[in-house]
């Protein structure tokens, strides 16, 4: 698959503090690439470097095949939209003028497509209302509209759903999916809300302490996450000896909940429960979440180091 953005041996130091340590990353075209990492892992720094807001200490990146060291990178940046941390909008301008200003920044002379863009992010009826009076969700959507000016090939979004209410999160998710599907825009996105990210991303990179721990596609991730069945029973204490005897891998969550990682049929579980004189209340799928996978990855790294 063609890569729209490639990062090679990128390092960023602030004095003696190494924020990014030789980061290598390839972002496939038309993907939604989730950047997963804890606070201070280096996600925002990486995005700031890609968008030209900060300079790397060493290493390069290329956008659409143009190296960051090439002077043409300035013109290639027109093909990139971004929101870093919070939307960069003028609070004393209305939504239309904010978007128009970005059109001017891009050197565009026709403003006919602005209403359509505002409609895409559901801000078509805001009229003269200043962006300073917008709700957080509206500001985030306006930020997306500004980032989408000029129909960019790549969208870099740092925590775009931070602080949004559940409805705002759903709305943002739908907008991003629509942009990716309809406009074929590649999206590089970071979020603390990993459950939400897992509903969007087609690819992931896990970053910890400035290092990329792993990159993989959502399909590969599905194959790697631990499958589990969640069992709710009258007593976990009584059933555990039976599972131990049968060599079933499990994890007790509380007195009534237990996760089973071994592939066992529901009939067999019920049969073993009967044997232990334990009542089975329910059995359901409880596959490891993206969060769990990431935490395991970090734990393994810390174990090694």
């Amino acid at each position: 698959m063609e890569n729209v953005l490639s990062i090679k041996d990128l390092c960023k130091d602030y004095g003696k503090f190494h924020v990014l340590k030789s980061v290598n990353l390839d972002i496939p075209k038309e993907s939604i690439f989730g950047l997963v990492g804890r606070n201070g892992a280096g996600k925002t720094t990486l995005m700031r470097i890609i968008t030209g807001l900060a300079e790397p200490t060493s290493g390069t990146y290329s956008i659409g095949g143009i190296s960051s060291k090439d002077k043409k990178i300035l013109s290639v940046r027109r093909r990139m939209g971004s929101i870093i941390e919070s939307p960069a909008i003028y609070k004393n301008l209305n939504a239309y003028d904010n978007v128009k200003l970005q059109y001017i920044n891009l050197g565009m002379t026709s403003f006919d497509s602005i209403p359509g863009l505002l409609e895409l992010v559901d801000l078509q009826g805001t009229g003269r209302k200043k962006a300073g009076k917008f709700s957080l969700g509206m500001r985030q959507r306006l930020g997306i509209a500004v980032a989408l000016c000029g129909n960019p090939d790549i969208l870099v979004l740092d925590e775009p759903i931070n602080g949004l209410d559940p409805q705002g999160i759903i709305q943002m998710r739908e907008i991003l999916l629509r942009i990716n599907r309809e406009k074929h825009t590649t999206i590089l996105i970071s979020s603390h809300i990993l459950e939400e990210l897992s509903k969007l991303a087609t690819h992931y990179a896990f970053i910890e302490k400035g290092e990329i721990l792993q990159t993989l596609s959502a399909h590969d991730l599905m194959g790697r996450v631990r499958k589990a069945s969640r069992l709710i029973v009258s007593s976990t204490e009584l059933i555990c000896p039976v599972f131990d005897r049968e060599g079933i891998e499990y994890k007790v969550e509380n007195e009534e909940t237990i996760d089973i990682f071994t592939d066992v049929t529901a009939t067999r579980i019920v049969s073993l429960a009967n044997e232990a004189d334990v009542e089975v209340v329910s059995i359901s799928d409880n596959n490891e979440s993206l969060e769990g996978y990431f935490m395991n990855l970090v734990a393994k790294r810390e174990g090694i180091s």
């Binding site: 030209g52 300079e55 919070s86 960069a88 609070k91 004393n92 920044n105």
Partner: protein, 280 residues
């Protein structure tokens, strides 16, 4: 560069800053006239402005030099400072506009606002001086034009300095405080320099009983190289009113050159600052 300029001026006009600059400049012009008349002539002169002479114009224009830099500092904070605080500058960088062009476009907008502010403020003063109906026309001579031009150059130098400060400090309010404080600091410095340079070389002490007197050297007199340095500083800083009002004084030329140097140096420094600045 054209994208950066269009962007800066779109914001200048669309955010109503243009109208605010016009309004406050008009107000400043009126306040300077009222203050000059009240302080130096007395209330009665409002009705009898035919007695105003060139000195009145000089005082008004000095007033512009004192008040306008404060307005420039506030405008610069609101215009350039907001761009940094709202982080909307990121949008320009992300669209590939070079940082140098962003800085120059912002500077152009601030200088434009300064020139508009200056034109309106001095325009009000000139209009009052020239066309007030209760007296005959006053002559606007070369000396007045020279002072006016000098004030304009100095205001532009303040605009360039303030723009640099906004990019230099990450906090726009801190930058505002610095740019506001620099004005009284220069004023105090110029007064101190004026006092030092005006110390007589010697003074005459007379004995009251005998009536005999003798010349004594003034220990506070600054001479030699120190005098040359102080005179140079006094001539080049914006405020130094004694020399300022002297016809034929070389202060104008020196100060105008100093103003042009300030604009050039601060612009060069500002471009370096924005190039190296890590945008949040």
């Amino acid at each position: 560069m054209s994208r950066a300029l269009k962007s800066a001026f779109f914001r200048f006009f669309r955010t109503k800053w243009f109208l605010r600059v016009l309004f406050f400049s008009l107000l400043t012009g009126l306040i300077i006239i009222i203050n000059t008349v009240t302080t130096n002539y007395g209330f009665i002169f409002y009705m009898r402005p035919r007695y105003f002479d060139r000195e009145f114009m000089e005082m008004c224009i000095i007033g512009v030099l004192i008040v306008l830099p404060f307005l420039i500092a506030i405008f610069c904070t609101s215009f350039t400072g907001n761009d940094l605080q709202f982080r909307s500058i990121n949008n320009k960088v992300a669209t590939g506009i070079s940082r140098k062009c962003i800085y120059l476009a912002d500077l152009a907008a601030v200088i434009t606002a300064t020139v508009i502010g200056f034109a309106v403020t001095t325009g009000v003063i000139f209009a009052y001086y020239k066309f007030w109906p209760t007296r005959g026309s006053q002559r606007i001579d070369a000396h007045i034009i020279r002072i006016t031009f000098y004030v304009l150059i100095t205001c532009i130098a303040f605009a360039a300095f303030n723009t640099l400060m906004q990019y230099f400090f990450s906090n726009k309010f801190f930058a505002l405080i610095v740019t506001l404080l620099i004005i009284p600091c220069i004023l105090i410095l110029s007064q101190n320099l004026e006092a030092k340079l005006n110390e007589p070389y010697r003074y005459y002490i007379e004995n009251e009983e005998t009536g005999e007197g003798a010349w004594t050297l003034n220990p506070h007199y600054v001479g030699g190289t120190s005098r040359k340095v102080l005179t140079f500083v006094y001539d080049t800083i914006p405020y130094g009113f004694q020399n300022f009002l002297e016809e034929g004084s070389s202060k104008f030329e020196k100060s105008m050159i100093a103003g042009a140097i300030v604009v050039t140096v601060t612009t060069a420094a500002g471009i370096e600052v924005i190039k190296k600045r890590e945008l949040s």
